[in-house]
């Protein structure tokens, strides 16, 4: 028997089986590798809401890098205007014409998950080799009930652009509190010269500032799924915010001003300050000289910061071609794409490994953004927030500006509207 247990090459049965096992494991690994490569092939589509030329240039650059890395994946990008994004997303879910990958923002996450529009990717994220470079706060904004639904692509770091030359002319420094901010608005406003202190965004997209202001004055919006707006604090907040318009410190067009209008107002010398995030840096830099503008952190409110630091995520809408979709989603977290996109647009990377890069850390223009990124808080995350802020809060605030409502009436409307939305 013992003799029979040897094979003709002189190997023992044990050695033979061991060799067979190793070979099998190697074969399985090779097969898994081949399967993985095969899985990272095919065609995927990507829904996004990039709008500016710089964003498109950045996207194209990243897509070129991606194609070089994954030549077998055909990536089709589909631009959907931000205002129509949820309409398209909802139609995609209802009609089951989903994209493979969709952009996701924290404000929209709760609604997207509630309508079962996203696929959880917790296991993929937890086994991702770059996971350690994304601290926990990066995942908070994309997690619902313990499940992760996307990977941070870049961050929205709130900050302020200000007219450096106007501030020097007025002998003031960038404000750090809302009282100083108002004083700066007063100092910079000169209707005779067509100058206003601040470019208020109270048209499309202006809803974000309403929630920011209410929280900065100390009132939460929702606690444990219930309306938690403190009426007195909200009135104080809206009184301050609308007071800038009533006192003529912002352009009279503010009730209709959206992103494009506030940016043009700042670039053409109509306003002295404007609040946005770092994503508009490339546009400002292209239009103005370094002597004309500076960047600073947003002023803080009486009770809380006004600064938000949120992240733009990419998530999977369906399981089909999931490996290829994951390749695209996770690619955004790597250093080269992140730096490429930052240089094209000004959007800050979400990865700490990239944020520590000398090209960012040693550039003085980014210094306020680094501070803001550390201080900023995430946007509200509750189901119905997007609808409430856009359909209830913003029109109510606009009615204060146009004199159709008092501050008290508008706040009451916001509170009752929030109760309906929840």
């Amino acid at each position: 028997m013992r003799k029979n247990s040897r094979i003709s090459s002189g190997l023992s049965r044990r050695q033979f089986l061991k060799g067979l096992g190793v070979s099998g494991a190697g074969l399985m690994l090779a097969q898994a590798g081949l399967m993985r490569l095969a899985a990272q092939a095919g065609s995927i589509n990507y829904w996004h809401h990039f709008t500016s030329e710089s964003e498109f240039l950045g996207l194209e650059a990243i897509m070129a890098q991606f194609k070089e890395r994954y030549p077998d994946i055909d990536l089709i990008q589909e631009n959907i205007p931000n205002a129509d994004f949820m309409a398209r997303f909802t139609a995609g879910v209802l009609a089951d014409t989903r994209a493979n990958v969709s952009m996701v923002t924290t404000e929209r996450l709760a609604d997207m998950v509630a309508m079962e529009g996203l696929v959880p990717i917790t296991d993929r994220v937890n086994s991702w080799e770059l996971r350690e470079y994304f601290p926990d706060n990066r995942w908070t904004g994309i997690t619902v009930d313990g499940e992760i639904y996307g990977v941070p692509a870049f961050s929205f770091v709130d900050w302020m652009y200000y007219r450096k030359d106007w501030f020097e002319e007025a002998g003031i420094t960038p404000p750090t509190t809302l009282d100083e901010f108002r004083a700066a608005c007063v100092a910079l406003t000169d209707p005779a010269q067509g100058r206003y202190g601040f470019g208020m965004r109270a048209g499309g997209g202006g809803q974000a500032f309403i929630a920011d202001m209410i929280e900065a004055f100390g009132s939460p919006l929702v606690v444990d799924g219930e309306v938690a707006i403190d009426r007195a604090l909200a009135i104080e907040a809206m009184d301050f915010w609308s007071g800038l318009y009533k006192d003529g410190l912002v352009p009279p067009s503010a009730p209709g001003d959206s992103y494009r209008q506030i940016m043009e107002g700042f670039k053409t010398g109509q306003t002295g300050m404007v609040w946005h995030h770092t994503g508009s840096l490339a546009e400002i830099q292209a239009a103005m000289t370094p002597d004309q503008f500076g960047t600073a952190t947003k002023p803080t409110g009486p009770a809380d910061t006004l600064t938000r630091t949120s992240f733009l995520y990419n998530g999977l809408m369906k399981d089909e071609n999931a490996d290829a979709a994951w390749a695209w989603v996770s690619f955004w977290g790597e250093n080269d794409p992140a730096i490429t996109f930052l240089e094209a647009t000004g959007y800050f990377p979400a990865s700490t490994a990239v944020a520590d890069d000398a090209r960012i850390a040693e550039n003085p223009i980014y210094a306020p953004a680094i501070v803001s990124a550390a201080q900023g808080k995430l946007p509200p995350q509750f189901i119905g927030f997007a609808g409430w802020s856009q359909e209830i809060a913003l029109p109510a605030f606009q009615r204060i500006l146009t004199g159709e409502s008092t501050v008290e009436q508008a706040v009451d409307e916001m509170i009752s509207g929030l109760a309906d939305a929840l």
Binding site: D111, P252, S253, G256, Q261, W388, P395
Partner: protein
């Protein structure tokens, strides 16, 4: 082989090897042939018209919020009851009436004047016909953004012209003021919509025989009398259909409003179509949006029936 053999073969009558042809041949001679031919169209209409309408009506009786899957279900007339006390809905209804009456009237009048001018066949009218159509051809999105820029309170060329001509002291934020937002949107809609009336009315005018005008002229009718007693009556079918189509278009299409004002400031330009759209795609409340849409549907049906009957009665 004779020619009659060739003609007979497809019917299958002479060849039992083609039972389908035989069946079709028999059917084509029966009264059911007409119904058979319209079956494909009927199926298409059922799929793309009847089913969505019924589905929309059923939706309006349901709580159907995509973000609250657990609480969805039939709730009867609850949405309709809520509509009665919904301040935004009532404002949107009022605005929609202003928008439709203002829009259709202004577009019809300008379209009629333009059609009359182009129908005179003066020098350059061929080129003018093409130029006049451009606003209608331009996509609404492009037209909306173009006008938003032209009316911009900082860079707008219209503000610049009005200031230079002395009509304004300074640039005006047309879309930020509730008193000017609706008129400004109506102007944009007028610019975009009048070529539709021009095109249709001009086609109608060119179909009116010259003999009628010559006879009227011999009888001593002046141009105004010719217009009132010949042109307008003969254009009546076209006027009816274009007005109905335009009313439906204005009530249903929120695209221009989304670009220019999104219903603001406040609710100054909020319309039923826009409100329904935002209820569905911003609040994901498809049941409530369905109820708003059904109300729009009923209003349009009632308008169309009353309008067509009223015009028919006038004609009779």
């Amino acid at each position: 082989m004779t020619s009659s053999d060739v003609l007979e073969a497809p019917t299958g009558r002479a060849d039992p090897a083609f039972p389908l042809f035989s069946l079709l041949g028999r059917l084509s001679e029966s009264r059911g042939w007409a119904y058979f031919l319209i079956i494909p169209s009927l199926i298409l209409i059922m799929v793309v018209v009847i089913y969505p309408v019924i589905s929309g009506i059923l939706m309006s009786f349901q709580e159907l919020r995509l973000t609250r899957p657990g609480s969805n279900g039939y709730i009867g007339f609850e949405h309709y009851i809520d509509l009665v006390s919904d301040r935004i809905f009532l404002r949107a209804l009022q605005n929609t009436v202003v928008w439709v009456i203002g829009g259709v009237t202004s577009q019809f009048l300008l379209g009629l004047i333009t059609a009359l001018a182009l129908n005179r066949g003066i020098f350059g009218s061929r080129l003018a016909r093409i130029v006049v159509l451009l606003p209608w051809i331009l996509p609404t999105v492009a037209a909306g953004h173009m006008w938003a820029l032209m009316l911009d309170p900082r860079l707008g060329v219209i503000n610049d012209i009005l200031v230079r001509l002395g009509f304004l002291d300074s640039y005006r934020a047309w879309f930020a003021d509730p008193s000017t937002a609706m008129p400004a949107v109506l102007v944009v809609a007028l610019w975009q919509g009048f070529p539709f009336f021009t095109l249709m009315l001009l086609a109608g005018m060119q179909g009116i025989p010259d003999d009628l005008y010559e006879a009227a002229s011999v009888d001593g009718a002046n141009p105004l009398q010719e217009f009132i007693h010949i042109t307008l009556p003969l254009l009546r079918p076209i006027i009816v259909s274009t007005v109905v189509l335009r009313v439906i278009g204005l009530v249903n299409a929120p695209d221009l409003l989304i670009i220019l004002t999104n219903g603001g400031p406040g609710d100054a330009t909020q319309m039923l179509s826009l409100y329904a759209f935002n209820k569905a795609y911003a609040s994901f409340d498809f049941g409530y949006a369905g109820a708003i849409s059904v109300v729009m549907f009923i209003i349009l049906m009632v308008f169309t029936i009353v309008y067509v009957r009223a015009l028919r009665a006038t004609q009779e």
